[in-house]
Amino acid sequence: MKSEGSESLPQVRVVSPEVARENRAWVDDLSSNGDRREFASRRLYEVLLRAARAEVGRRAARLRLVGPEVDDIAHQAAADALLAICGKVETFRGDCKFTTWAYKFVIFDVAAKVNRHFWQRSGVAFDDDDWDRLPARLGIEPEAHAESRELMQAVHRAVDENLTAKQRIVFVALVLNGMPTDVLADQLGATQNAIYKMMFDARRKLRTALVDAGYLAEQQIA
């Protein structure tokens, strides 16, 4: 994985004059004081709430979340996103529509809230290392579990013998237990990026171990 900030990300987007005008209006209104700012904040909250409801609905259907809590999450996410946006409005670079930039805040806020909510209800401890779950977590059909037993044992062995204690915790939480990265990051007091990096390194180590043991061919990157 490239180290943080090592990729020079190109500026490839030039917005139209109309979008640039709208963007400037949002930034100016939200950076002003008094009624102008208050009115802009209320307008933006309405936009964010619509986006939050749509995103909660999209995720809730898959996670089977229902009831008033779903709308509560949307309201909380819209309010939290508005606060974050108002605090960072001067950092908006104008390389997209202001609303697209704003949606990003609310989308990630909805994800964090839905994931926390879903995980609290799941009743699974993040460090519960039930290895019988591995085949199902890797999408192996029940009828193929028997023939994949040797492979699963090799993965288990590779985890025990090759990963650091922290990498093992992350592997167990994310892979065996299906814990969302952001929830695990909260529990471990780490950033999501740090958890992803730990898992990235763990994945590389496991592949190398399984290749060395003859279970897997060398990886080809396109």
Partner: protein, 81 residues
């Protein structure tokens, strides 16, 4: 050995171009607008594309952001100024 489960193959496949969550999220709004405009975002941001192929959390957020950008109903509200 052949016939590896697809889930394991995907789990263990890493790409050195992968930029990680922080960098991908920093430009996700631009990346998604390119996608919405029918532009090959992966060509402009290969490290971000690689990350989205491997990180479920960021990929899910990208899907949600793209859906929001493409949902005209969301933009029907009041405009600034």
């Amino acid at each position: 050995m052949t016939g590896w489960p697809e889930g394991l193959e995907r789990l263990l496949t890493t790409d050195p171009r992968d930029v990680g969550c922080d960098t991908a999220r920093a430009v996700l709004h631009v990346y998604v607008e390119l996608l919405a405009a029918g532009i090959d975002a992966a060509e402009h941001y290969p490290g971000v594309a690689s990350h989205l192929a491997a990180c479920d959390a960021c990929a899910e957020a990208a899907d949600g952001l793209l859906a929001a950008v493409q949902d005209e109903g969301l933009h029907g509200g009041p405009q600034p100024g």
